[in-house]
């Protein structure tokens, strides 16, 4: 080959390498960007007057006078809409039955959509479900609902070769010539006055209970469940992991038994996470009967098995990284081997061990498959410490799955899903960040 070609190949090889790295970074950005932007909206958003009413009635928060003033203004702004509805209803009564038949179904649909947007009208009986007692609490959602009121969505299949094309026709066309026609214009121009959106910071999203299957409120039960599961897993895995690491690093030689153990550790690390879940179900629940059905305790034990290999490996590395001089100095002062390990080696290795435990804490918090059969339920109250021995709990990873796939109104509560994902990702990142900082300090100290 000519030198020119070889150079070109070399350059293109380099650029393919760069491309791979850039693609990796780009995929991280693409992945995180919607999560951060839309997840942030669970915490900071434009809350409507309905949101403030909900907060007042369900949580007892907010200024009563301000709220009643807002409600009064909103009522005034909504009055023309309701007046038009009443006028049309009267018109229907007065006209003949063919008129009624023509408009009845459309009118009922319109009224239902309006109730979804603005909430039930004053003086109507109280709805049973909390989600029906309020209009749209978030302004982005109320704009979506407004669009549903003003336009009728349909699909055009006239082009048979492809998929249907979405078409929107104005709902006003249904009511042309009636007294209801101006309603749509009023709605479009006055939606701001009717909903009175205000920038709201809802940091209590993390610490509020959920109301009516996550339609409103926060994610505290999930947070608490994740916390219990992750720390419970650490409670089992850390002592076992560190003792194993001490044995492997300080006592074990290179015998057959030791290499068997090492193979087992790496195999355990390779077991698919869902298999851990099945094992937890078959062993902890169906055989040992630690609890009669799913419980936090069983979930924590299953997760502990999952993270055990990580902790063992990292702790062993940390122990081996302690300079040999430490041990010799301690021995020369007359300390025994065990004494040396407990008093000298472990304290020196502690930051390294801590790093690994922090990272596996994040892993335990984010694992879903092992807790599906052992610990997680979709809806539940926050548990007290004592209840964790016998009761299942909601947990962030499982509820992300559950809300995104099995919830009855998946699209309505996207902000809750994104909020949960955002919280989980931030939790894991903060833990990793802490680990990275700790590691940097350790390596500086061991070097110095």
């Amino acid at each position: 080959m000519e030198v020119g070609t070889r150079k070109l190949l070399d350059r293109s090889f380099t650029s393919v390498g760069f491309l791979a790295i850039i693609l990796m970074a780009v995929s991280l950005v693409i992945l995180l960007q919607p999560i951060i932007i839309r997840g942030g909206k669970a915490f900071v958003f434009k809350g409507t007057v309905e949101y403030r009413k909900l907060m007042r009635e369900q949580f007892g928060r907010g200024n009563v006078e301000e709220l009643s003033m807002d409600l009064e203004e909103a009522r005034l702004a909504r009055k023309p809409v309701y007046d038009l509805l009443d006028a049309f209803e009267n018109e229907m009564k007065e006209q003949d039955s063919s008129f009624r038949r023509q408009y009845r179904a459309d009118f009922r649909e319109l009224k239902e959509l309006l109730e979804e947007l603005l909430g039930p009208r004053e003086g109507e009986r109280r709805r049973a479900l909390i989600r029906k007692q309020y209009g749209q609490t978030r302004h982005d959602r109320s704009l979506v609902k407004l669009r549903h009121v003003i336009y009728i969505e349909g699909y055009d299949y006239s082009d048979t070769s492809g998929m249907g094309v979405k078409v929107e026709t104005p709902r006003a066309e249904l009511f042309t010539g009636t007294s209801l026609e101006p309603l749509f214009g009023i709605l479009e121009t006055d939606i701001g006055k009717m909903m009175k959106p205000k920038l709201t910071v809802y940091w209590r999203f993390l610490f509020d209970k959920s109301i009516d299957a996550h339609f409103f409120g926060g994610i505290w039960p999930e947070m608490l469940g994740t916390f219990y599961l992750a720390f419970g897993a650490m409670l089992f895995a850390i002592p076992l992991g560190i003792i194993t690491a001490i044995y492997l690093a300080e006592y074990a030689g290179t015998g057959r038994f030791v290499s068997l153990i090492r193979i087992c550790i790496s195999s355990l690390a390779g077991v698919p996470s869902v298999v851990f879940g099945l094992f937890g179900l078959a062993f902890f629940i169906n055989t040992v009967h630690i609890s009669s059905s799913k419980s936090v305790l069983v979930g924590a034990m299953t997760l502990a098995l999952l993270i055990l290999p990580t902790i063992i490996r990292a702790s062993e590395e940390a122990i081996l990284a302690v300079p040999h001089g430490f041990r010799e100095a301690s021995m020369s002062l007359g300390a025994g081997k065990w004494h040396t390990i407990v008093r000298v080696v472990l304290p020196a290795a502690l930051p390294g061990i801590l790093t690994s435990t922090i990272i596996s804490l994040g892993r335990a918090a984010g694992e879903t498959a092992p807790i599906i059969f052992t610990a997680a339920v979709s809806v539940g109250k926050p548990l007290s410490l004592f209840q964790t021995f016998s009761q299942p709990t909601p947990a962030l990873p499982w509820n992300i799955y559950n809300l995104a796939t099995e919830h009855e109104a998946v699209d309505e509560i996207r902000h809750v899903q994104y909020g949960m994902v955002f919280t989980l990702v931030m939790m894991v990142f903060l833990l990793n960040l802490a680990a990275i900082i700790l590691r940097a300090r350790v390596s500086k100290r061991l070097r110095g």
């Binding site: 090889f13 791979a20 990796m24 003792i243 698919p272």
Partner: protein, 386 residues
């Protein structure tokens, strides 16, 4: 939990632990007990693995006595909840394989190139920036990837799947064909005599360019015309799995590449090789075993992953037509276990419950064997290295 003192094996405790414990029997016994406890705790992972195997097998075996072996591995009819239940898992096995294959095709070249770039090409300061990116990719929980696949990627694929695929294919194909044209023209021009070599080179390049332009255009139009009927399909799951497997592949193969000594690289440079030639012909062959181990572990991660495939693959138990059509929904082993256990849980003891353990056993065996293989490869390489 596991350290019951009556199980202590006193046979292999030859060494004394405490210095200066001569004659003090109590201390001797104490140290022996301590040591045994250590051994016992250390064998907890051995016990855990044994227990996992035992209990998965224990609940898997009844399925074969209830339903036989043949149907499970050969039939594609998966109807576990019918009265006349059918448990043909062939399509599920193929689904798992297909999704994993897609992930491998995507992540192995990218992962190996990225690790080469990290170990040999990037300057140290940039490496410090890239490392956290990889660590972040590894730290993100799988359910977050699944959520992204379901909520963001799937609608995107469904709406503009064809054009996305076309752009992706162009990103790969165009640079590749340009390199190929140059290389081909260089190689073929050597066949001609010295005086016409330059002209022939230009001519072959022009011909190759024309042909490949035509082919690339065809591919583009084909891709652009593709319609994705469902955004949750094998491709979606493959891409997500590929991204998830990347950090593992990159970090392990980078370790392997770094373990190749400087002297090998310098020797190659001294002979006049370019960096690409050094990497391809010297460094990669020397680190081969480590890279293979990394790929095996990455594949294992993809096979064993649950949440992403459950949310992104569409969960349809049928073999895609043709089999490599990644745009159709598939169902995988892990997703089937996760999805069906919720209902099968109530009928403990039925074949519907046990069949899931059979699947778990298959996963476990695959994972165990591939782990052993990768361990073996690494060990042999280490021995040879010494």
């Amino acid at each position: 939990m596991i350290e019951t003192p009556d199980k202590i094996n006193r046979g292999d405790l030859g060494r004394r632990l405490m210095m200066g414990a001569k004659g003090k029997r109590m201390r001797m016994i104490g140290s022996r007990i301590g040591h045994s406890a250590l051994v016992l705790a250390a064998s907890s992972s051995l016990l855990a693995l044994l227990f996992i195997f035992y209990f998965i097998i224990r609940d898997a075996v009844p399925f074969f006595s209830l339903e036989g072996v043949g149907e499970f591995f050969t039939s594609t009819r998966w109807y576990p909840s019918r009265d006349e239940a059918e448990f043909g898992a062939l399509a599920i096995f193929i689904g798992s394989g297909l999704v994993t294959l897609g992930a491998v095709v995507f992540s192995v070249p990218m992962g190996v190139f990225a690790s080469l770039c990290l170990s040999d090409i990037l300057p140290f300061s940039l490496r410090q920036v890239v490392k956290p990116v990889i660590e972040m990719l590894a730290a993100i929980p799988s359910v977050v990837y699944g959520f992204f696949a379901l909520v963001v990627l799937a609608p995107m694929l469904q709406e503009k799947g064809g054009s996305l695929l076309a752009v992706g294919a162009m990103l790969v194909l165009v640079p590749l064909t340009i390199i190929l044209i140059v290389v081909v023209s260089d190689l073929t021009s050597n066949l001609f005599a010295e005086n016409i070599r330059k002209i022939m080179r230009i001519m072959t390049a022009a011909i190759a360019a024309a042909i490949s332009f035509f082919i690339v255009l065809k591919v583009y139009h084909f891709m652009n015309g593709l319609e994705v009927s469902s955004g949750t399909n094998a491709l979606n799951a493959s891409v997500m799995l590929g991204i998830m497997a990347l950090p593992m592949i990159v970090s392990i193969s980078e370790d392997a590449l770094n373990a190749v000594g400087r002297d090998l690289r310098e020797g190659s440079y001294a002979l006049g090789a370019t960096r690409a030639e050094t990497l391809v012909k010297v460094v990669v062959p020397a680190a081969k075993s480590g890279i293979v181990a990394a790929v095996i572990l990455g594949v294992m991660r993809a096979i064993g992953e649950t949440m992403v495939v459950w949310m992104a693959s569409g969960n349809a138990s049928r073999i895609p037509q043709p089999w490599f059509n990644l745009l159709q929904p598939v169902r995988t082993l892990t997703a089937t276990i996760a999805g069906d256990m919720g209902e099968a849980d109530h009928v403990t003891g039925s074949s519907r419950y046990h069949v899931l353990f059979v699947m778990a056993l298959c996963l476990l065996v695959i994972a165990f064997i591939s782990n052993l293989v990768s361990e073996l490869i690494v060990r042999r390489a280490r021995k040879n290295g010494r």
